[in-house]
């Protein structure tokens, strides 16, 4: 046996290109479906666990998938906005705790999540370094975002304009990093969290500037009446909230009408949840209330349908690859016909050759197996991050 393996090993080493090709093919046949299965399982787990921990989401009527993806995974697609009135409405029902979220802006590629402190308690997020945000302009950063951006408490982070030519409103705001969160292995790791009011400042609904009522420069005052002073666009708005200017920051209009992208509703019990959902059933209702678990389940069903097709394709490819490998070995045996004759003439049975080829196949398959196992283990080890990087951001 050992001698057969030795000769097979020598043959394999001599025909490196052929051996490497065979190992690569066999490894891929094993690796692709298994790793795909692993990644999909991990995706399912991540998507579902996040969805399972979010009981209800209220948003504008329309695509429930966009709503859930933006609210839970901070996806790029920003759903149509609703207002804080939606949150107040949930609060007034006394059936659920409303947690408004505003996920629209970005800072250096990472989503800025405007929300309330209740979000952190709801998600079980704790500050690992520094402290929780306290005032306007403060932000706490997810562990992943802090690592990628090299941020720590005390650093500054500027919000990004929505587009290059955003001349009319969304100002870059320099935010102060007060804390870095513990790793949660969710989308929260890559997010920058600010108070809801800070996102409104970013949008321009709130701002700070000199006291308009005491301005002397006439070019800054558009119109002055007994009870109001209208300022011109020339008036400089602060782009950073500091201890010195925070008092000047204020909001115009009623906060009830201020925008959010969604309201997470955490019902106090199952019955309350059902009653709350019932309040959004009317046809005239402009809002919708969705169960993220259902939405994600629907998404996964579609993914699995696609996966079935992929599995079929991979099976066909695998079959073709196996046939090709069999052909390679068959041709190899034919090429070694003379060797077989020599071996027979020397005094060995014809089975000797079969044993040698079998040893070769065994070694190639074992090598492929080890390689495949190693790669699968690697994928398994990093599947959490891979899935988040490739599929969920």
């Amino acid at each position: 046996m050992i001698d057969s393996l030795y000769i097979a090993w020598k043959y394999i080493c001599f025909n490196k290109a052929r051996t490497v090709t065979l190992i690569a093919c066999i490894t891929l046949i094993g690796f692709l479906p298994v790793s795909l299965e692993l990644l999909l399982d991990e995706s399912e787990q991540q998507l579902m666990s996040r969805a399972a921990t979010t009981p209800l989401v209220v948003g504008v009527r329309g695509s429930s998938l966009d709503l859930v993806m933006n609210t839970l995974y901070f996806g790029d697609e920003v759903p149509e906005l609703i207002t804080m009135a939606a949150s107040d409405r949930v609060m007034e029902t006394d059936l659920a705790l409303p947690i408004p979220v505003y996920v629209r802006f970005r800072a250096r590629g990472h989503p800025i999540v405007g929300t309330t402190l209740d979000y952190f308690e709801f998600r079980g997020l704790k500050v690992a370094e520094g402290q929780q945000m306290a005032v306007l302009g403060d932000c706490v950063v997810g562990a992943g975002a802090a690592e990628k951006l090299g941020l720590k408490p005390g650093d500054e982070l500027v919000s990004s304009p929505e587009n290059m030519f955003d001349l009319a409103g969304v100002y870059p705001l320099k935010m102060k990093v007060t804390g870095v969160l513990q790793k949660s292995h969710t989308s929260d790791d890559l997010a920058v969290f600010v108070d809801l009011k800070t996102t409104w400042v970013i949008q321009g609904l709130g701002h700070g500037h000199q006291d308009v009522t005491v301005l002397k420069d006439p070019t800054l005052v558009l119109k002055r009446t007994e009870d109001n002073v209208a300022a011109t666009a020339k008036l400089y708005h602060y782009m950073e909230i500091t201890d010195e200017n925070i008092d000047s920051f204020h909001f115009h209009g009623h906060m009830t009408g201020y925008p959010v992208t969604a309201v997470i509703a955490a019902p106090y019990d199952a019955k309350s949840g059902a009653i709350l959902q019932g309040r959004y059933l009317s046809k005239e209702e402009r809002h919708q209330i969705v169960e993220p678990e259902e939405v994600i389940d629907g998404l996964l069903q579609n993914i699995f349908r696609i996966k079935n097709v992929l599995d079929a394709v991979i099976s066909v490819v695998a079959l073709a690859t196996v046939m090709a490998i069999v052909l390679v070995f068959a041709l190899s045996i034919r090429l070694r016909q003379r060797e077989m004759e020599t071996v027979f003439k020397l005094g060995c049975s014809r089975m000797t050759m079969a044993r040698l080829v079998a040893s070769e196949i065994l070694m190639i398959v074992v090598a492929s197996g080890f390689l495949c196992t190693g790669m699968v283990l690697l994928v398994d080890q990093f599947s959490n991050n891979l899935v988040r990087t490739l599929f969920i951001r």
């Binding site: 001698d3 001599f14 060797e339 005094g347």
Partner: protein, 224 residues
């Protein structure tokens, strides 16, 4: 006692295309015999019969007092690998093995031969005797023609066979090498007390043999 004794031997293929009849054929122990004859006269068939690769339809075939044609398949193979060394025209070395591994090859492909330290040492010694001692680690496909045939001779001699069958051993060598290789073969055969039966087309080398048999006439002739 003769090494090979054939009497009233008849061989033909099942299809009946070829027929060989040998009324009598003897090779003495330690004799170096050459077999010549036209193509298709049955020279290679003779070697196959003697080595047990094929069996005659009829007749007596004794090799080293063993009735080879009476042995079963497995017995003939064991007999062959233990007692007979082959030297081929095309060397039949394996390109994917080095010289030492090629020489040791028979020991690796059958359980009838047991490889140990003594065998490895003997292989190294044989290679040195044949002038290729410094090329043991070289791959077979990197050797010259002469070196290849020397390696093949080492492989044939390693099991210490009693009989060496050489089928056109110098057929693929250049004129300079032919003589050298034959000298090496003869020297090795004499040193190991073996009998040599060589099929050859090379008439210039015939005088070196003890006896030459013309398979076409199938009559014994002295080398002189």
């Amino acid at each position: 006692m003769s090494m090979i004794h054939i009497e009233s031997l008849i061989f033909h293929y099942p299809s009946g295309e070829f027929r060989l009849e040998i009324p009598e054929f003897t090779v003495a122990r330690g004799e170096k015999m050459a077999v010549i004859g036209p193509s298709g006269s049955g020279k290679t068939t003779l070697l196959n019969l003697i080595s047990g690769i094929t069996t005659p339809v009829k007749g007596t075939l004794n090799v080293d007092n063993i009735k080879v044609n009476k042995l079963g398949d497995t017995e003939r193979r064991v007999f062959r690998i233990s007692n007979i060394g082959f030297v081929f025209q095309d060397f039949e070395l394996l390109d994917y093995l080095n010289v030492l591994d090629n020489i040791l090859h028979p020991y690796r492909i059958t359980s009838a031969l047991k490889m140990d330290r003594v065998v490895r040492q003997r292989a190294t010694t044989l290679a040195k005797e044949m002038g290729i001692g410094d090329k043991l680690r070289r791959m077979a496909n990197k050797l010259s023609q002469g070196e290849k045939q020397r390696a093949a001779i080492c492989r044939a001699l390693l099991p210490q066979p009693k009989l060496i069958l050489a089928d056109e051993a110098t057929g693929n060598l250049d004129p300079d090498n032919k003589g050298l290789i034959l000298d090496s073969l003869f020297r090795a055969v004499e040193e190991h007390d073996a009998t040599l039966l060589a099929v050859t087309h090379d008439h210039e080398l015939l005088k070196r043999f003890d006896r030459v048999v013309d398979f076409g006439k199938f009559q014994g002739m002295d080398a002189s």
